[in-house]
C-alpha cells in the first residue's frame, strides 16, 4: 500500500496529473478565459484609442493620417476585433457583477446567461457596425 507523503522529495518525483490537456472545455471555463483575453486585448486597444485622440489634438494632418490607418483593411479588422472584445467584456462584466451579488450562480442560469452573452456579443457588435456603416454612408 502506498502511503501519502508530504510534497517533499517523493512528491517532487511524482508526476503531475494532466489538467488542461485532458479537461473538456466547459462553457464556464471557456467564457472565463475569453473574458481575460478580451480584457488583455482591450488594454492594447485603449492605447490605440489614446493615440487616435492625441492625433486629433495635434492637428488636421496627424488626424488625417490616423483616420487613414484606422480606415485601412488591417485597421478595420483590428477595430472589428476590439469592438467585439468591448461588447463581450462589457456583457460578461455585467454577468460577473450579478454573480457578485450572489445571484444567478445555479447551473442553468450560468449556462443561459453565458449563451446570452455570446449571442448578445454577436448581435450588438453587428448592430454597431451596421449603424456605423449607415452613418458613414
Amino acid at each position: 500500500m502506498s502511503t501519502a507523503q508530504p510534497d517533499g522529495e517523493a512528491g517532487a518525483a511524482r508526476p503531475l496529473s494532466p489538467h488542461l490537456q485532458v479537461y473538456r472545455p466547459q462553457i464556464t471555463s471557456v467564457l472565463s478565459i475569453a473574458h481575460r483575453l478580451t480584457g488583455a486585448l482591450l488594454s492594447i486597444g485603449i492605447a490605440c484609442l489614446v493615440a487616435w485622440l492625441v492625433a486629433a489634438a495635434a492637428g488636421p494632418e496627424s488626424f488625417a493620417a490616423a483616420r487613414e490607418i484606422a480606415g485601412s483593411w488591417p485597421g478595420l479588422v483590428l477595430l472589428f476585433i476590439w469592438s467585439l472584445c468591448l461588447v463581450y467584456h462589457l456583457l460578461n462584466g455585467i454577468r460577473h457583477m450579478v454573480w457578485d451579488t450572489g445571484r444567478g450562480l445555479e447551473l442553468t442560469p450560468v449556462r443561459v446567461s453565458g449563451w446570452a452573452v455570446v449571442g448578445g456579443t454577436v448581435l450588438l457588435t453587428a448592430l454597431a457596425w451596421v449603424l456605423g456603416a449607415m452613418v458613414a454612408g
Binding site: Q5, L16, S17, P18, Y23, S29, L105, E106
Partner: protein, 260 residues
C-alpha cells in the same frame, strides 16, 4: 505564472493495448492513465476493451471488471460504490466525477479515465490528497463557540437556520470541484480551493457557530477568497449537485461587508 505544460516526468506516453475479449458483441474501449512509481518509466495510457454484456452499468463497474479479469495491477480508490464516500473521484470523459455514479451509457466513444487533474500521482488513478486535507484542516471545519453549551441538551437551531446549511453540509470531500478549478491548478499552494471554501462557508452559515467573522477574516485576501475568479467549473463538476461557486460568492459578500 501558471505552468500550462506538464513537467517532463509527467507527460503521458502510449501504453499497453490489452487483448480484446473473445465472443463479445457489445464492447467499449477504455483508455486509462497508468503510473507505476517503481518502473521509473513515467505515466502511460493503457487501452482495454470491456465486454458490456458481462459488466455493470457504471464506470466503476468497468474498472473493477478490468482489475478482476485483465490487469490486477490497476490501482484506484473505491469504497461505497453509491456516491456517498467520494473515494472514486477521477477525471472521466474530460470531466471530474465519481466513477460509481457515472453511467457508461452517458459516454460516447472511448472512455478516457485520468486521475484528478493537476495533482501528484502516487500510482495509476490514485493521487496524493494530503495537501488538500491540510488546507481543509486549516479552516477549522468544526463548530467553534465561546458561549457555554446549554445544560444537558444540544445547541438548538430553528428550521430556517437549519435550512441555510442545505447544499453545504452534504459535501463528501471527493475533491472533484477542487481539481476542476483552474485557479486551484495554478495557485494550489495559497488558494484554499472550492471544496475547502465551501466547507469554511458551511460553518460561517451555521447559526450555532460563533467564529464567523474570524473565519471570514482568515480567508479574506487576494490569494485566498478572491483568487476565485468565478469560473464555475466547480459547480459544473460536483457529483452531488452542490454549488461551491455560490458559497464562495456569499463568503466574498461577507468579506466585502466587513470592510465597511
Amino acid at each position: 505564472m501558471a505552468k500550462f505544460r506538464l513537467p517532463r516526468n509527467s507527460r503521458v506516453r502510449v501504453g499497453k493495448a490489452h487483448p480484446v475479449p473473445q465472443g463479445s458483441a457489445r464492447r467499449t474501449r477504455f483508455k486509462i492513465y497508468r503510473h507505476d512509481p517503481d518502473s521509473g518509466a513515467g505515466p502511460r495510457l493503457d487501452t482495454f476493451e470491456v465486454d458490456r454484456d458481462t459488466c455493470g452499468e457504471m464506470v466503476l463497474d468497468a474498472l473493477i471488471t478490468i482489475k478482476d479479469d485483465m490487469d490486477s495491477t490497476l490501482v484506484f480508490r473505491r469504497s461505497c460504490r453509491e456516491g456517498v464516500c467520494g473515494s472514486c473521484a477521477m477525471n472521466i470523459d474530460g470531466v471530474n466525477t465519481l466513477a460509481c455514479t457515472k453511467p457508461l451509457d452517458d459516454i460516447s466513444g472511448d472512455v478516457r479515465v485520468y486521475p484528478l487533474p493537476h495533482m501528484r500521482v502516487i500510482r495509476d488513478l490514485v493521487t496524493d490528497i494530503s495537501h488538500v486535507y491540510g488546507q481543509l484542516a486549516s479552516v477549522k471545519p468544526w463548530l467553534r463557540s465561546q458561549s457555554a453549551a446549554p445544560e444537558a441538551r444540544e445547541r438548538l437551531q430553528s428550521p430556517d437556520e437549519r435550512e441555510k446549511l442545505d447544499g453545504l453540509y452534504e459535501c463528501i470531500l471527493c475533491f472533484c470541484c477542487q481539481t476542476a478549478c483552474p485557479s486551484y491548478w495554478w495557485n494550489s499552494e495559497t488558494f484554499p480551493g472550492p471544496a475547502v471554501l465551501l466547507q469554511a462557508y458551511r460553518w460561517v452559515a451555521d447559526s450555532r457557530d460563533e467564529a464567523g467573522d474570524e473565519r471570514i477574516a482568515e480567508l479574506d485576501g487576494a490569494d485566498e477568497l478572491f483568487r476565485c475568479r468565478t469560473i464555475v467549473n466547480c459547480t459544473n463538476a460536483c457529483p452531488k449537485g452542490l454549488n461551491p461557486a455560490r458559497a464562495i460568492a456569499e463568503a466574498k459578500k461577507r468579506a466585502a461587508q466587513s470592510h465597511r
